[in-house]
Symmetry: C2
Subunit: 757 residues, 2 copies
Amino acid sequence: MSTATPQRTGVVGARVRRHEDDRLLRGLGRFADDVDRLGQVYARMVRSTVAHGAVVGIDTAAARALPGVVAVITGADLGDIPPIPIRLPRGDEPPDCLQRILPDEVRYVGEPVAVVVAEDPYTAEDAAELVTVDYRELPVVVDADGAPPVARLETGYGDVDDAFTTAAHVVEVDVEVGRHAAVPMEPRGLVAEYDPATGRLQVWGATKVPVFNRGVLARMLGMPAEQVRLHAMDAGGGFGARGEFYPEDLLIPWLARRLRRPVKWTEDRAENLVALNHSRQQRHRIAAAFDADARLLALRDEITHDNGAYLRTHGLLVPELTVGMLPGPYRVPAYRAAVDVVLTNKTPCGTYRAPGRYEGTFAREHLLDVAADRIGIDRAEIRRRNLLRPDEIPHVRPLRALGTDVVLDAGDYPALLEAALERTRGWREEVARLRARGRRAGYGFAVFLEKSGLGPHETADVIVEPSGRVRVHSGGTSLGQGIETALAQIAADRLGVDHRQVQVVNGDTDLQPFGLGSWASRSTVLAGNAVDLAATAVLRRAREVAARMLGVAADLLDHVDGGFEVAGRRVALGEIAAACAPGSPHLEPGAEPGLAARRVFEVDHMTYPYGVHVAVVDVDPGTGHVSVPHYLVAYEVGRAINPTLVEGQLVGGVAQGLGGALHENFHYDAQGQPQAVTFVDYLMPTAAEVPGLVDTLITENAPSPDNPLGIKGAGEGGITAAGAALANAVRDALGLPGDVGHLPLSPPWLCTLADSR
Amino acid sequence: MSTATPQRTGVVGARVRRHEDDRLLRGLGRFADDVDRLGQVYARMVRSTVAHGAVVGIDTAAARALPGVVAVITGADLGDIPPIPIRLPRGDEPPDCLQRILPDEVRYVGEPVAVVVAEDPYTAEDAAELVTVDYRELPVVVDADGAPPVARLETGYGDVDDAFTTAAHVVEVDVEVGRHAAVPMEPRGLVAEYDPATGRLQVWGATKVPVFNRGVLARMLGMPAEQVRLHAMDAGGGFGARGEFYPEDLLIPWLARRLRRPVKWTEDRAENLVALNHSRQQRHRIAAAFDADARLLALRDEITHDNGAYLRTHGLLVPELTVGMLPGPYRVPAYRAAVDVVLTNKTPCGTYRAPGRYEGTFAREHLLDVAADRIGIDRAEIRRRNLLRPDEIPHVRPLRALGTDVVLDAGDYPALLEAALERTRGWREEVARLRARGRRAGYGFAVFLEKSGLGPHETADVIVEPSGRVRVHSGGTSLGQGIETALAQIAADRLGVDHRQVQVVNGDTDLQPFGLGSWASRSTVLAGNAVDLAATAVLRRAREVAARMLGVAADLLDHVDGGFEVAGRRVALGEIAAACAPGSPHLEPGAEPGLAARRVFEVDHMTYPYGVHVAVVDVDPGTGHVSVPHYLVAYEVGRAINPTLVEGQLVGGVAQGLGGALHENFHYDAQGQPQAVTFVDYLMPTAAEVPGLVDTLITENAPSPDNPLGIKGAGEGGITAAGAALANAVRDALGLPGDVGHLPLSPPWLCTLADSR
């Protein structure tokens, strides 16, 4: 891969207004529930009311008898449908842990056991309540601790035991991250329509990895993949959870094909809270060994990962990422980590923004604060001594993450830490002033490593029209992150045209059948570089044709403002596109007509951005309320295509990270009944809880050498260290000698901690 | 252009069942009126009730007041919309003859003057009747004869006057072809929808030249072409008329964009008969000069062409084709023809299956029969002496047709005549027997030249899927002719796969933005050869990748049954497609992923099929009824991709040609009021009028050297000589010394002719 970053003076790096806003701010966005097809019927899931049970019988008679009911489908109707496969399999996943569709044994409350279809959604919901399911209840596992694991992942390098034996200081903490989840503003929704004339099946709604899901759906239905067309829609939040393949993603298309009518399904909030992937729930018994100078000798972690009832599409990804990324930006001479993956009778878990890193960063950074205090050195100083220096990078770490070798590609971690500390110097003084007035204020920070730009490849088309407008068919999907704008900027920059002339179309599997989707902070890196390659190929072709049009050698032409010029004569890109049409004298015989290119960007390694979170908290020990008056995310992004979009990602991430750190928790009773099934019980942060102004410090000092644009992903850096920084700030505020025990730092727990001091 | 026709043993030439029938026979075809969009409203045209008048005022108040009416639009609302352009301009068209949209001066009964849009079609129709248009009536021209022409086309070569001066025999007739038209079973329909979020406009319905119409619509609306997507639908008959750009093709999309609601319009039969292009109406004063051996010395024709009120999209095409093709398959040493193109206050005319050739073949072949009788030689013999012999072909004729030089490419005209005469020897005997029993039976035939395969180019995509299925995005459109089947056969033959694995998708301007459409018997020739080129390119690429997969040199591979083999090892086409996906080790870095190609077939000249029509008639001189017990079309097609489809084209053409010869006639009163406005007045042939069995003799003796597949088009040969053969048979039956005067040979006219004898 070339590392030459061509000089640009264009729109890459500019704060251009989001293209998406043209529709979203005018109410013209199209979300899943905005899709309606003529003659559609409405599906409603019948969901398990028990956490573990054998389905002994399903009585659908009363539901079928309700006027307006079109069909009631149970597992017996489905026939032999394979389980939902793992999207990124490692190969060592335990057998029989995959989720089946409408199984005869349910394993969590909320699991679909039947589907009702009716002429209107109200009838469907009423009829679903008339379906009687007879269960023989089975033993329920709610607590992962002590339960037998279905898989154990072990990784590491170096002589950890020796390091711990000879260490000057050993520090250990035992901390847990609660069960929380993406909870996007928009619940899921699907519309499926089958055309018996063409045998084609269209599905609207799931936005993340439409091409992959197309393949899964086609295989599960026994159809050729190209006969299935998925349309990603606008999405009210993705965060890793939306757009994965769920039971409904099979059921709704299956019904449309069976019933020969379009079928629509819109998830309600109560369903969403038990049906969409949960995440995060882990216990870390993490320990560090230091020499006398507080330099790390080794790190070890024994982790219990509660994955809920099944391995869904993410398989063992979150545990793998947890241990693969745990050493973070530090020099860790020896490392050993093990994760016990336990299945429990709770909603299955998958990835959620910064999966594994939110958990691991919390464990590691909280450990470092405790260690600094125990050793008696400054909390920043312990990090300064252990962060990898620029001269140690690239740093090859004998670990795997997302199936790739961990090679930390570029960075100056200590410098960014200093910058963040310097930027927040006043906050430390403010904390001191608050404390002097008797307030339980605290300052906490955490350094983190992110990963982004997962390959192996992404594909993009760039098409220039005779009008001069440019279309991009990208493999990314629009999850609200502004990818259409970023890709338009990249294409415009390369082609030298106004970015508003570039229209990016995402998530249509017919238009871009090779797209790998938007996840793992990969879109801007992968799709962006694919767009750049395709635009470069288009430009090369345009130069050839322009040379023919102007009757000069191609290398005499100057590329100026989206056209080619020589000696005062000029052809614009649109004119060149017109000259590539069939019948043009400038099109060589046998040549492919049109001015367009489809190109693949391939990359073996991820690129590793990094950052620092700094939080100021003000704890009310009476109520347990934690207010967060100040928050900073410092983040090295390699190259910001659009700084406003990067800021948006970071600030939004903080809000979500704060929720998991302080409020959100899916808790269950001993029978596996979920206790947080509405927003009254599941506490999302509101504007009152989130800092009014999240400060950001975006640096572009360490472009990635692994992609021509030098980009690093920015989708997750706003959340990764939020649990860590807030826990460290709370610990600082309360003056805890040990760790905070677990997240979320909910008011009751805060009161307990405050009292324990 | 290579003339090598590769040897094939595949499916080209086989009578495979039509792919289209899978949907059409199951009622799954989708015609214009089958399209419905959510929230659509319905348009109804307000049409002129006078043949020529200035629109003094339009009172829309009552219509607007009707509940359910959404909008009433007049010309004043439209603003500055340009007139409908000519699709194939010659450059010498008279100015100011183009049709404008909702003009302030109407020129024929049925011309749109306003549009009403309502929530349902019934309200729209009721409201349209409430619109009051105040006209100041202007002088009406109904009869083209004697009216001043707007254009005069003159063509020819050689010294015609000298030939006529020195001729042994000069024969002249003065004949007319009546005004008739395509009258497809399915009236037109359009649905348009505008998406303000993307700025894209979609239009469903017009099936013929969607890419061209997209450009016209975009220009008229001031939009970039790529923001308009046209979807051709299944069509209940095209025949040249359906799918051209009419006022409604602007109005319905304009309304959808203006109203921000989908707009649907379905033409009713009464509208169709005054709104869709008429055709054919010409008067020929045609004369031939012969030497003493009845060899042609010269041909001359003075033609009056009644084009109705405007030059629509076909401009001067029909007159040009008339004079360009008039010499037909004969050796004509000198030729002069002139057409006066006259505008009259009647429905505008355009092409209708075999435009110009139906008229010219009738004039010429009728003249030859009269001449043979006058000179006193056999009607077949006069043709034998004058038909071009194989050794005279290719024959370059200094004429132009459809903007191309006339080069008769391949053929043995006399041989086909003999074959047709031989095949119908029994019919002549039967006629003699009938006459012996007192019946007015007649035998008539006519030799004709067709043209097909008009360039300049056509584009096709061939895409192989990992499933092994093949998709073809063709520039042709499905007008019922079976083009999907023919193209699937061509692709399957080249790729070596089962033709049922090939899915042809036509008429979507997004999928094939370079398609030139289906008209002028060009699709199989142009699109077929484009598909063959694209399939060849795909195969070449497949061989390269297969070689990489198998680790051998590409030229060692054998292409067998849709795969490549070497030494007992084999990779199928689908496997090769999978190996072309991004990330495949077999895909070269930087290469375009996928196994697909878009290719252009270019051709300068048309290819000229030819044929013979033979008819037996049995005339009832009392009622004027002409029954047609026998009919033969002999036709040289170069190469029949699917003989069943060719037969279908020929037989269907005969039915239409018979209608125009015997029954159909759009007649007007002196005020320009159309007198044939229902099927009670406009007499379409029914099963009772059409021969129960139309015989066909399809030969493949003269493949075209101008395209690799050797194809000649077969869309029009079934109609071209129908007027001529039937007129000749009737003349034979009645024993007329002169000509039949005019078509149609309607019962009253037949009675007149019978009495005149």
